[in-house]
């Protein structure tokens, strides 16, 4: 029977009571053992497609069409819950995005793995404990024996995701669906996890449907790619063809905006709108020089500094492009006293027992020193738990250091009074990571943005005009003023956050992973906006991120943090070109890069 492992025909999904489908006429197939990437942004329908295959669609969504899976006769969409349950994990398995919540918090890891073996009864009961141990070893769990008795909260995100993979592959399914399995993980963990998934999928000869928004990840693990946009498949083809000669405008846009190394004529990242000028990922060529993989439509643009003189910058009254200005602006102020001075700052969290008895202490920061000159753009890079967020909280006066001194402008933050902290906040503002949780859902945008002005005692008329001006600066129209946060997309909400942060004209902008929750194309827009505003308002920028690509694009200086200490610091270009520390090297190596992934696969001939 030469049929495909998975065959989806004309899948259309409509929410109950709605006229327009959220998934239009999707057809795809997956051959036995084939690894297919399903790419798209949030809302593109890629997860819905996977859920239909698993029979896990939310009840309020109605699916029409045909989904057939080798090993089951008939349409999966017509199958009842009992039939689907028997297929799940036996023939088709899934690894989900959020490892922190995907495991039952009340049940030991070993029991959760044993359960999936018991349900399908492929392994004799007496052999289940041994099989659990073998599965944990297969996913390279450190100390698999004691891991069986651990509860999920005692494991890191990466370890939990290993457990999920062990569960998914326990019954050797023929198809593994991965829904953004590494998105929530740190870069170095992500790389190991991707290798592990590839290794295990090959070991059990399964096919794989890999859902992600991250093109570099897809390039590394998949043979074929399906691109989805707004509930439709817009393009499908082998990885090298899609990434070197994308046919659809959206694919090209996605490719362009995910490439943080490429900038347009104005030194800004490419967005869906400007993607036409994108020439493909920068590839190391045989001669050691740099070439580009993507053949442009008509004219080739050489992004040399001379040509990059920005018309946008000129229009805004600036002159040089962003990249050059980084150096220009930072230089003259170096001599004067730094704007921010952090000396020997440590922060120890103590869990207190009864009667103030000391129980345990966690050192989140251990003796941090650095300075930031006015106008500098400092990136702070590190994995989760490295102390980045603690450092930010201390800098912005939201937390106090255990020891050490922090000076911002002429304010001593560590000993600041309530009045001094108010003054600090007029000078230093923060954009937080989660655009969905950091805005009060019951306040109108006008009030959200105006709040720092109220705190600063600005009169009502001036408040309104400054809010309007600020919304205009972040490219939101005046109609937004009367709306509530839920009426905006993630990218728009982050614009609102930025407007709120900048409305009282602070000198310093602190951004805590402001784009990590955003889609790739939106990420490019928000980063461009940040670059524009930093130039326009002559801001000093502190940018915290786990994404080295983003920091490299945006920041002139960088600090690499690990376990509460600064591992390495210096000019961004130097650090990236010539990292001195092993940790920095590992971090850089683990960051997925489109060009590298393609080059490693040998799939793309380098550009002319």
């Amino acid at each position: 029977m030469p049929e495909n492992l998975l065959e989806v025909r004309n899948l259309t999904i409509t929410p109950a009571g709605a006229e327009t489908p959220v998934l239009h006429d999707v057809s795809l197939s997956l051959a036995s053992g084939e690894r297919v990437g399903l790419i798209g942004e949030s809302g593109s329908g890629k997860s819905l497609t996977a859920q239909s295959v698993m029979g896990l669609l939310p009840e309020e969504l109605h699916a029409q069409g045909q989904v057939s899976l080798a090993g089951h006769d008939g349409n999966l969409l017509d199958a009842d819950e009992r039939t689907m349950a028997a297929l799940r994990s036996d023939i088709v398995s899934m690894v989900f995005q959020e490892p922190m919540s995907a495991l039952n918090p009340l049940m030991r890891i070993g029991d959760q793995i044993a359960e999936v073996l018991r349900i399908h009864g492929k392994v004799p009961r007496t052999q289940i404990p041994a099989r659990v141990l073998a599965l944990l070893s297969d996913v390279h769990m450190p100390d698999p024996d004691s891991a069986r008795y651990a509860f999920p909260h005692q494991m890191s995100g990466g370890q939990r995701q290993r457990v999920m993979l062990a569960i998914a592959l326990a019954n050797s399914p023929r198809l593994l669906i991965c829904d953004e399995p590494t998105t929530a993980l740190d870069v170095t963990v992500q790389r190991r996890m991707l290798d592990l998934i590839a290794e295990r999928v090959a070991a059990v000869h399964a096919g794989m449907l890999f859902i992600t928004h991250d093109l570099a990840v897809v390039a590394g693990v998949c043979d074929r790619v399906i691109v989805m946009y707004r509930g439709r498949i817009v393009e499908t083809g082998p990885v090298d063809r899609i990434f070197s000669a994308p046919e659809h405008e959206y694919t090209r846009g996605l490719l362009a905006s995910s490439d943080l190394e490429a900038t347009d004529d104005h030194g800004r990242l490419f967005t869906l709108k400007t993607a036409l000028a994108y020439t493909g990922p920068r590839m190391p060529t045989a001669e050691g020089g740099e070439g580009r993989a993507l053949a442009p439509d008509d004219e080739r643009r050489d992004p040399s500094p001379a040509q990059r003189t920005g018309s946008l910058r000129a229009a805004r009254g600036g002159g040089a492009d962003g990249a050059r200005e980084k150096e220009d602006r930072a230089a003259p102020v170096r001599d004067s006293a730094p704007l921010i001075e952090v000396s020997d700052v440590s922060r120890v969290f103590r869990a207190r027992g009864m009667f103030g008895r000391r129980r345990s202490a966690v050192t989140a920061l251990g003796g941090i020193d650095f300075t930031v000159a006015a106008g500098e753009r400092l990136g702070i890079v590190g994995e989760s738990g490295s102390g980045k967020s603690t450092l930010l909280n201390i800098l912005s006066g939201l937390d106090r250091p255990t020891t050490g001194r922090v000076r911002v402008g002429d304010i001593r933050v560590e000993a600041a009074s309530a009045r001094a902290l108010r003054a600090l906040r007029e000078n230093l503002q923060i954009v937080f990571q989660d655009p969905f949780a950091s805005l009060d859902p019951r306040m109108r945008v006008a009030d959200i943005v105006a709040e720092p002005l109220i705190a600063a005692g600005v009169g009502q008329d001036e408040r309104l005009s400054r809010v309007e001006e600020m919304l205009d600066a972040v490219d939101l129209d005046a109609k937004s003023l009367r709306r509530y946060p839920h009426q905006f997309s993630g990218g728009q909400r982050q614009r609102i956050s930025i407007a709120r942060a900048l409305v009282n004209r602070p000198q310093i902008l602190v951004a805590d992973e402001p784009v990590s929750a955003l889609d790739v194309s939106v990420r490019a827009q928000v980063l461009n906006l940040l670059t524009d505003l930093v130039d326009e308002y002559a801001l000093t920028l502190l940018f915290v991120s786990h994404d080295l690509g983003v920091v490299k694009h945006l920041c002139s200086e960088v600090i690499v943090m690990k376990d509460g200490a600064i591992v390495e610091s210096g000019a961004t270009d130097d650090i990236y070109a010539n990292p001195q520390e092993e940790y920095t090297r590992r971090l850089i190596a683990a960051t997925p890069s489109l060009a590298e992934a393609l080059a490693a696969g040998g799939r793309v001939e380098s550009g002319i």
Partner: protein, 315 residues
């Protein structure tokens, strides 16, 4: 975990001591002392002073406090100035009545609410789920004395199945004891079950949205099985907390039901003691109630980490 239990037990003891001080201080600060009450408004100051000396009320408050507390620790709640009777036997028998009544009522309400609330969550879009939801909403709105009166009219006065009032200790006759217990327990349990049903329903709905339920289904469990194996234990955590609060509230809250069914419970005794200005009895009863509420909280506090390993390791 042992540390946690110890720390909770210490909190329990400290709260109890604090409560005893407050109760004693309030009772001592009230104008008009027991001797005055006993002798009436026409008594001469000499007669009052003599009685005070006899009761020991002329001693310093600190001495009287320790006298009272040490007595209670030894199981002696003192002698009523009003009736001259020992208070301890009254408290012991009335606490038994109320404990049986309230524990039976909460047990019944859990038995009703857990399946009903779970079912309402699973069938939330069907008419059954909506009906359960609406019924529990109405149930909350019915005061328990109204439920009691309706139950008495239907099952006692009309059908004659159960006695309409009274109490019989289990040793006097177990059948009679059960028969008299039914209507008061049901009238208490109905309202509590209605409240608890809503909590169970929302806890189950929350749990059904959890990622680990989706994981369980991806492992090959049906939706219902996933809920039973993985969901209910997780949903139990908020439900236990609410049931603990309900139990504590009912200890005193049962007083109306005790009055309607003429049950010699602790609520009834408290009302009587207050009406008679029987200060010693009020002090004793309030302390017993405080003790019971603290015990319930202690049990809930220890039960939750037993179920949830995350709280256990944080503890």
């Amino acid at each position: 975990m042992l540390n946690y239990a110890l720390s909770r037990a210490t909190q329990f003891a400290l709260s109890l001591i604090f409560a005893s001080v407050v109760v004693f201080a309030l009772m001592s600060l009230l104008p008009g002392n027991a001797a005055q009450v006993a002798l009436g408004t026409n008594a001469t100051p000499e007669a009052v002073a003599a009685l005070e000396a006899q009761y020991g009320l002329d001693r310093p408050p600190v001495i009287r406090y320790f006298d009272w507390v040490l007595g209670m620790l030894g199981g002696d709640f003192g002698t009523s100035y009003v009736t001259g009777a020992e208070i301890t036997p009254v408290i012991v028998s009335s606490v038994q009545v109320t404990a049986i009544l309230v524990i039976a009522a909460i047990a019944l309400s859990v038995v009703i609410a857990v399946p009903l609330g779970t079912f309402a969550a699973l069938e939330q879009r069907n008419w059954i789920g909506v009906t359960i939801s609406a019924a529990s909403q109405i149930g909350i709105a019915i005061p328990n004395f109204l439920a009691a009166i309706i139950l008495v009219i239907v099952f006692s006065l009309t059908l004659g199945w159960f006695p309409s009032q009274g109490w019989m200790a289990p040793i006097e006759g177990f059948g009679g004891f059960l028969l008299r217990l039914v209507l008061p327990v049901v009238s208490l349990a109905l309202v509590q079950a209605a409240i608890l049903t809503r909590y169970v329903r929302s806890a189950v709905l929350d749990v059904m949205r959890e990622d680990f339920i989706r994981t369980a289904r991806a492992k090959g469990l049906t939706r219902t099985k996933a809920l039973f194996v993985h969901g209910l234990r997780n949903a139990a955590i908020p439900v236990i907390t609410v049931a603990g609060v309900q139990l504590a509230t009912l200890l005193v809250g049962a007083v109306i039901i005790e009055q309607i069914f003429v049950l010699p419970g602790i609520g009834s005794e408290l009302v009587r003691a207050v009406a008679n200005r029987d200060l010693v009895a009020v002090q004793g009863i309030v302390m017993v109630l405080v003790l019971l509420v603290l015990i319930i909280n202690l049990v809930v506090d220890i039960l939750v980490p037993v179920i949830d390993p995350r709280i256990r390791s944080a503890a």
